[in-house]
Amino acid sequence: MAKSSSTDAVTLIRSLRSAYAATPTNLKIIDLYVVFAIATALIQVVYMGIVGSFPFNSFLSGLLSCVGTAVLAVCLRIQVNKENKEFKDLAPERAFADFVLCNLVLHLVIMNFLG
């Protein structure tokens, strides 16, 4: 039973990997960026867990910077994805411009909040 489930899992992951291999490179870059941002956020959470939340505003801005940019990256991914019919008419450059603008605004706020 256990054996079959592990093999199932392996098969599942394999199929996932093969399916993901077909993803366009630009989307993979975005995925990588999201992973990078979330990983950075996680490291900060671990740090806070070890030393405590003081100064809390700095922690929050660091975390929100990462999470925010990750969310924006996800939004970018949605818009850039060619499979997504909803944004078919939207140029990827336009989506990137939105991403840049939103990031700049987000980080202005983050910097203000950093203290």
């Binding site: 490179t25 070890i50 030393v51 405590g52 003081f54 336009r94």
Partner: protein, 691 residues
């Protein structure tokens, strides 16, 4: 409660005042000398005008005080200057000569004969009293310098001055003026005295007699204060020539004594009046201005040695005498300047206790004379007098009957004095009675010579009773001015009760039932304090007797609340509690190594991201190659980098407004560049797609 406080205050003020007013008249003393030194201070090396210089030097001379050499030199300079100047008026010359008579400036440089002839011409054409006064006064001063002065028409001058006199003894300043003045009378008498002393033989004796009558009339118009002092005053129509009673009295005394000095025979003024005027000058104490001090001192110096009556002042050096320390009743009889009187006997005619009804306690006691200190004294402790406020009546009689005509002692002189002593308090008892009024719950006898610490308890149905009996050293009943009991609750709410006296005993009965509301239903401990005080009681006291624990019923609804106790006024001005500034203690920081480790760790995802990019085979193939778009792309990336750099600066040192200002420019630039770059990129990719 506040009303009672005011009564206590008034009682205290009254008792202190009644002590102060007891000795008003004392001869001229050191206080006058030190006041003179303070008041006559030269300004820029001089005392001012010649009149002021004369006032200063004359006062200092009478009081026997030193005058400094440089001030005298400056004064002499102006004297010589005024006497040599042809434009000087008679008044200027008069005061210059007066200063000269004190300072004795270089006589050789002053041409007295010339001045005398100038004054003679002034005198001839004189039409008003001041003209006569100043010119005759000046001529007299020149005569006193040792020069021959002849009045061409002495009798005429005398007549002219006399013509200004009025029927009531006062004088006019000139023949046209309707007003007569007492001050002018003083001036006129001094001028007449001058005429007589310059040319005695030429003046008609009968005229002198008439002037003497005028003086007597003048003294009939003398005014008196309630304390028996006498003074001269004027009625004023115009306020611009106002003179104080002191100045007017001084002028009259100067004139009258000068006239009495030169006139043959006696001027018939009663000794009491002279004494009254002397007392008026002395009762002023130490005047506050230099002018007043001059008038006071000069007038007294005229009285000190005159031919009418020399006033002898009877005074008490101390009016509060302690029977406990066996103080002696001392009486000073001196002249106005404190010179001991000729041999005389002082008798204490009567000493009447203000409490007794007019019956004298001491009668006809002759005072002993202490030759050494020239003071008359009486040992009151041996006379068995009791404590109290006494009205003392003295009489001084001179031994020499000839001296009786020379000196005025003023007959009976009355003073009030306090004989103080230690009051004994006996039979002091404190009782708590039960409601039936008869049975005694607690009875404590008190020793009021020291604080006690009784501890009593009572409820609202019981009665508190305090009684004691103050007696004088001679065993008589004594009624102190202030006898109060104070009950003070723990919360500082105070109740003060006046203790009434009945016969010999002081008794206070407090039926707590009637006081429940007044006590605001406050049960608990009450401190008991007893005040007994009087001006003549040497051992006035405020004793703590102890405390009584009161058990009062619960307050009904709408019962009055105890008023908030006033904050101790001294606390307001006392030191305030120190304010300590506490800074927030710094938060605990993690160890430096840990933070650095995480700082390094944060780069790991970035590294992973870059490695991932490389593995995905990211390239820059789409990066434009032609120079225009390259420039735009580079500018776009530089723009983003500069905005991020601005954010970094904002974090480090810039403020929000500066940041936003720069950002607005950068933002416009970036939007433009970004649009250019990305639209070009979009068109490229569209081309790629279509191809």
């Amino acid at each position: 409660m506040p009303g009672r406080g005011i009564i206590i205050l008034l009682a205290l003020i009254w008792s202190s005042l009644s002590i102060c007013t007891a000795s008003v008249v004392r001869p001229i003393s050191e206080a006058h000398r030190s006041a003179a030194l303070e008041l006559f201070v030269p300004f820029d090396g001089s005392f001012g005008s010649l009149e002021d210089i004369y006032a200063a030097f004359r006062t200092l001379e009478i009081l026997g005080l030193e005058k400094t050499q440089d001030v005298s030199d400056v004064a002499c300079e102006s004297v010589v200057d005024k006497l040599g100047s042809p434009s000087s008026t008679a008044k200027d010359l008069f005061y210059a000569l007066k200063v000269n008579s004190i300072l004795r400036c270089q006589a050789e440089t002053i041409k007295f004969e010339e001045i005398a002839s100038k004054l003679q011409t002034v005198l001839k054409s004189a039409s008003s009293l001041p003209d006569f006064y100043y010119s005759i006064g000046s001529l007299l001063l020149i005569k006193n310098q040792g020069f021959e002065v002849l009045l061409s028409d002495a009798a005429g001058a005398f007549q002219s001055i006399k013509a200004f006199s009025q029927s009531d003894g006062r004088w006019r300043y000139d023949s046209s003026s309707a007003e007569s003045s007492t001050y002018a009378a003083g001036m006129a008498l001094e001028a007449l005295a001058g005429v007589v002393s310059i040319a005695d033989s030429e003046v008609d004796k009968s005229m002198i007699g008439v002037v003497k009558n005028d003086i007597v009339k003048l003294f009939d118009s003398i005014k008196s204060y309630s304390d028996g002092t006498l003074y001269f005053d004027d009625k004023y129509v115009h306020t611009n020539d106002y003179r104080s009673p002191l100045e007017i009295s001084a002028s009259v005394i100067r004139g009258v004594t000068a006239f009495a000095e030169v006139a043959s025979g006696r001027v018939n003024i009663p000794g009491n009046k002279v004494l009254g005027v002397a007392k008026f000058f002395l009762s002023l104490g130490v005047p506050g201005t230099s002018k007043d001090l001059f008038h006071q001192i000069e007038a007294l110096s005229c009285l000190e040695n005159n031919r009418i009556y020399i006033p002898l002042i009877i005074s008490l050096p101390a009016t509060v005498l302690s029977l406990t320390s066996r103080d002696q009743l001392k009486v000073d009889v001196t002249s106005v300047f404190g010179v001991p009187a000729p041999p005389l006997t002082v008798k204490l005619l009567q000493a009447i206790n203000s409490n007794s009804d007019g019956k004298p306690n001491i009668e006809n006691q002759e005072l002993y004379f202490d030759q050494e200190n020239s003071i008359h004294y009486l040992d009151i402790a041996s006379l068995k007098v009791d404590v109290g406020k006494y009205n003392l009546i003295f009489e001084a009689s001179l031994h020499d009957p000839v001296a009786e005509k020379k000196y005025a002692t003023g007959g009976r002189t009355s003073f009030s004095a306090f004989f103080t002593g230690s009051i004994q308090i006996d039979q002091a008892e404190l009782e708590i009675l039960n409601s039936d009024g008869d049975s005694i719950e607690t009875i404590e006898s008190l020793d009021l010579s020291k604080d006690s610490s009784l501890s009593l308890s009572a409820n609202h149905l019981q009665t508190f009773r305090l009684s004691f009996q103050p007696t004088t050293p001679l065993g008589h009943a004594f009624k102190p001015h202030q006898v109060f009991l104070k009950l003070r609750h723990e919360t500082n709410v105070e109740h003060i009760f006046l203790i009434e006296s009945s016969a010999r005993q002081y008794k206070l009965t407090l039926d707590f039932l009637g006081f429940v509301e007044k006590f605001y239903y406050l049960s608990g401990k009450y401190d008991i304090e007893l005040f007994v005080g009087d001006a003549i009681m040497e051992n006035s006291f405020l004793r703590t007797l102890g405390l009584v624990e009161l058990d009062l019923p619960e307050p009904p609804e709408k019962a009055p609340q105890a008023p908030p106790q006033p904050i101790d006024p001294y606390l307001r001005y006392g030191p305030k509690a120190e304010i300590r500034h506490i800074f927030r203690s710094p938060e605990k920081r993690p160890p430096k190594e840990l933070s650095l480790a995480f700082f390094a760790l944060i780069f790991l995802p970035l590294l992973g991201f870059l490695i991932g990019l490389v593995r995905l085979g990211v390239n820059l193939k789409l990066f434009p190659s032609s120079p225009g778009p390259v420039a735009f792309s580079l500018l776009f990336h530089t723009g983003i980098a500069s905005v991020l750099l601005l954010y970094g600066l904002f974090w480090l040192k810039l403020d929000l407004f500066t940041t936003l200002k720069i950002l607005s420019f950068l933002g416009i630039f970036l939007v433009f560049i970004g649009h250019q770059t990305l639209s070009r990129l979009a068109s490229t990719s569209a081309k790629v797609k279509s191809s």
